[in-house]
């Protein structure tokens, strides 16, 4: 007589998820046993979030199968995921800040009641205190308002919520982001403790040291595929990095940088000790005419915050900003514009485009003054606006039948191109592109690279922010790397490789 082994807690087979123009998941597979901690790693866009969203019931796969406890599971809704015992702590905190810890933990689970209707706060508190004790987080007061807690404690509350719902599988999406070292240690103890009680944990992180500290198995995703699943002990840091980047593959051909590098001219922008406490710490760099400078870093490393500070879009930072060696004071984007620095923002819907404006009106917005019939007459000539917009539309290959159509009706990639087109005729000296290729298809990306290159060749300075390292390797002649609000490295010319960027973004500088 042999007892059949218990089926794995969760099995994912052949998951495929297509988005327009992208294969987000390409037959991804994974297995996790009860009591295991699985580290899930991969670059941005590798497919981790899509996989998690499918498990959470937030989106549905096009193909593939999910088994929970050996039974096929159809996770149509987040509610179904909860029923199956799957619990999620997303990167963005999803708690209700103006409720207490206890109220948050039991939210939606049916609060204990008195006389059938009145909230029984005492029993609620006792119940939640017990859950927190089980987690080893007894230092959190169930009566405290969640808004008064640290980020670390708020994450604990979210974990406690999963426990209160009797979760069998807990998915933590970058739980250690913006936590201090001690807080991370506490988090690790809690996660290990949960695993010992038989809960399975999927732990998503960009910090490779965490993988080696606390996971049992590792799964690596790349381009929507699960490229590696093995016990953590079988790996070392170097081999893990190699799997993440897929450096065994041939790197995309490096563009001919010879022209650019030799033409580097005078220094245009210099940033000295720019600091906004807690966001950006003491960042200094410069960029010269004819240069294409990359800023590498993971989401949340402070890249976007840094460039927004430079153009005066947020609060005024400490430190100095110099244009052509002269210190400039920038209080607002219009000041920055006047000094010749423009930012092409990351999020086109909320920051880049006026969605109800036509293609023409969006493109001419920053340069509207140049359409005056005479200098003192601020009545833009629509005919000349049209000509210019038409020119940009054909130059960038924007697909639209009519430049008078609202940008809202264009596809995402075309919207992004409109945002780029806005600035190209602005006569600025320094162009900052924040993730300009997000959501743009392959040919579109080439267009964007070519545009940046042309700007540089025309003697402008270009700053290019991207999470896709291959992009930076292909386009830039120099790259600075940001991590946790600081510049942690600079790579020049031949030093700019995918491998080098990954190491600097993920691994402690000390390590």
């Amino acid at each position: 007589m042999t007892t059949s082994p218990r089926p794995p807690l969760l099995v994912v087979k052949g998951l495929v998820k297509r988005y327009p123009g992208v294969l987000a998941l390409d037959h991804a597979a994974a297995v996790i046993e009860a009591g295991q901690v699985l580290g899930l790693v991969g670059k941005n866009g590798a497919g981790k979030s899509t996989l998690i969203k499918i498990l959470a019931g937030a989106t549905h796969p096009d193909e593939g199968e999910i088994l929970v406890g050996g039974e096929p599971a159809h996770i149509h809704t987040p509610h179904r995921a909860t029923e199956l015992g799957l619990s999620f702590v997303h990167q963005e905190l999803a708690d209700v800040p103006n409720l207490t810890v206890a109220e948050n933990v039991e939210l939606g689970l049916g609060y204990p009641k008195r006389f059938g209707i009145l909230l029984d706060r005492r029993r609620l508190r006792a119940k939640v205190r017990e859950v927190l004790e089980r987690l080893g987080a007894e230092d959190i007061d169930p009566r405290a308002l969640v808004s008064t807690l640290s980020v670390a404690h708020q994450r604990m509350v979210m974990i406690a919520r999963g426990m209160a719902a009797n979760a069998r599988l807990l998915v933590l999406d970058e739980p250690s982001a913006s936590l201090s070292n001690e807080e991370i240690d506490q988090l690790h103890r809690v996660v290990r403790g949960l695993a010992e009680t038989g809960v399975a944990v999927i732990y998503v992180t960009h910090r490779l040291e965490e993988i080696f500290q606390m996971t049992d198995v590792v799964s690596v995703m790349r381009d929507g595929k699960m490229v590696l699943s093995c016990p953590t002990d079988d790996l070392n840091k170097a081999s893990l990095v190699a799997h993440i980047t897929g450096s065994a593959e041939v790197a995309p051909e490096k563009r001919d940088r010879a022209v650019l590098s030799s033409e580097r001219g005078e220094e245009l922008l210099r940033v000295e000790g720019v600091t906004l406490p807690g966001v950006v710490e003491d960042v200094s760099f410069n960029v010269r005419a004819g240069e294409l400078l990359g800023i590498a870093g993971l989401v949340g490393s402070g890249r976007t915050e840094l460039v927004r500070l430079i153009v005066g879009a947020d609060r005024r930072p400490h430190g100095r900003i110099l244009m052509r060696g002269q210190e400039v004071r920038i209080h607002s984007p219009s000041d920055s514009r006047r000094h010749g620095i423009v930012l092409l923002p990351e999020d086109r819907r909320s920051q880049g485009a006026v969605m109800d404006f036509s293609v023409r009106k969006n493109i001419t917005l920053p340069v509207l003054r140049s359409f005056r019939p005479a200098r003192p007459l601020p009545l833009p000539q629509v005919r000349r606006e049209r000509a210019m917009a038409q020119e940009m539309v054909s130059e960038l290959g924007i697909t639209t039948r009519n430049i008078e159509n609202p940008v809202r009706y264009l596809s995402g990639g075309n919207q992004q191109k409109v945002v780029l087109a806005k600035w190209l005729r602005s006569g600025a000296d320094v162009f900052i592109f924040d993730e300009p290729t997000h959501g743009i298809d392959v040919e579109g990306k080439d267009e964007v690279y070519r545009l940046m290159e042309e700007l540089a060749l025309a003697g402008r300075a270009v700053i290019f922010i991207s999470s896709e390292f291959t992009e930076l390797v292909g386009a830039c002649n120099r790259v600075v790397v940001m991590r946790e609000g600081r510049l942690v490295g600079e790579l020049d010319g031949e030093e700019v490789t995918d491998q080098a960027l990954v190491e600097r973004c993920y691994v402690d500088a000390a390590a």
Partner: protein, 341 residues
């Protein structure tokens, strides 16, 4: 309505993935945009026709047309002014009180303090400028909610009006020159009609043809994108409050000039009709977007209804009910146009 008007008609399905759903959507868009764009104009025409048939001797006459225009003139001035901040999604609820303050101050300064009427008039305009700049500063620079700030500002302005007028009606001592502004005629029409037309044209050029107007619509559409494009959004939003307050001050002057007197708290009555007209107007020409030509139609529409219903000798409460209902329907229709986009 020049270039913008072409907009809703050539809606096209999203390029690339032009599925059946997109085509259906585009079709619905076209249908609802026609309803939204011409519905009010048709209703306007039908209304005039109906009143003309009901009262053939009194309604379709030159004298009646003139009186409707004269009565609509002050309403048009404030409604056109109000269109400007609304384009930027800013509310102004203080202009009713501003009308009373400007009128009261201008009358009291000439009748009790013996100021030259021209000077009194300039002081009234100056008060408008100051009040608008204050609201604008509090909203655009200090980040107050325009709704609450202007509501509070309205209370302050009513208080200031009472400082001048002591809450009494003032008949005596209004200069003839001042009275002529509101009562005089030019080319057969009351001066107020010409002034209102002039202001509407100026504000139309400002919003539709000028750089500033383009920036204002951009701020209304996406303030962050406008700001990152180098638009000085705080200054421009402040300008919006100044424009509506100045328009209100002008109306205060015209009303007291016409009546040769200052009656306490006259302005508040203009609050709802002005909002009604602007929202009605956003249902024509450019559905979902506030615009001056639309506002003009909205004001005339409400003026015609008011006169027509009065001629039918309906009770005041019926007139109120009908006007309220029309406003609600118009707002829903204009939102329909907006949702379709």
């Amino acid at each position: 309505m020049t270039e913008g008007a072409s907009r809703a008609s050539d809606l096209e399905p999203r390029d690339g993935a032009a599925g059946a759903a997109d085509r259906r959507r585009a079709h619905m868009d076209r249908l609802s945009s026609i309803v939204a764009r011409y519905g009010l104009l048709l209703a306007f025409g039908a209304m005039i026709l109906a009143f003309s048939l009901a009262k053939p001797d009194a309604f379709p006459t030159t004298a009646n047309a003139k009186s409707i225009l004269t009565a609509a003139a002050p309403a048009l001035i404030v409604a056109a002014g109000l269109t400007v901040p609304l384009v930027m999604q800013d509310f102004d609820l203080s202009f009713g009180a501003m009308i009373g303050l400007a009128g009261g101050a201008a009358v009291v300064l000439q009748s009790q303090d013996d100021w030259a009427w021209g000077l009194a008039l300039l002081v009234a305009l100056g008060l408008g400028l100051a009040a608008g700049a204050t609201s604008g500063f509090l909203v655009a620079y200090l980040g107050g909610s325009s709704f609450i700030i202007t509501l509070a500002m309205g209370t302050v302005l009513v208080g200031l009006e009472y400082v001048f007028t002591d809450q009494t009606t003032i008949f005596a001592g209004v200069s003839q020159g001042y009275i002529d502004i509101g009562q005089g005629e030019f080319l057969g029409l009351n001066n107020q009609v010409w002034i209102a037309a002039g202001i509407a044209i100026v504000l139309w050029v400002l919003l539709d043809q000028s750089e500033l107007g383009r920036y204002m619509y951009a701020i209304g559409g996406n303030p962050e994108a406008a700001r990152l494009s180098g638009v000085r959004i705080r200054r421009i939003r402040l300008t919006g409050f100044v424009i509506v307050a100045l328009c209100a001050a002008i109306v205060g002057i015209l009303l007291t000039a016409q009546g040769a007197s200052s009656v306490p708290n006259t302005g508040t009555a203009y609050l709802l009709p002005a909002f009604a007209a602007v929202f009605l107007g956003s249902a024509v020409f450019r559905p979902g977007e506030f615009n001056i030509p639309g506002t003009v139609v909205g004001v005339l529409f409400l003026g015609v209804i008011q006169t027509g219903l009065t001629m039918l000798q309906l009770e005041t409460f019926v007139i109120n009910l009908v006007q309220g209902a029309i406003l609600i329907i118009a707002v829903l229709v204009s939102q329909l146009g907006q949702r379709a986009r």
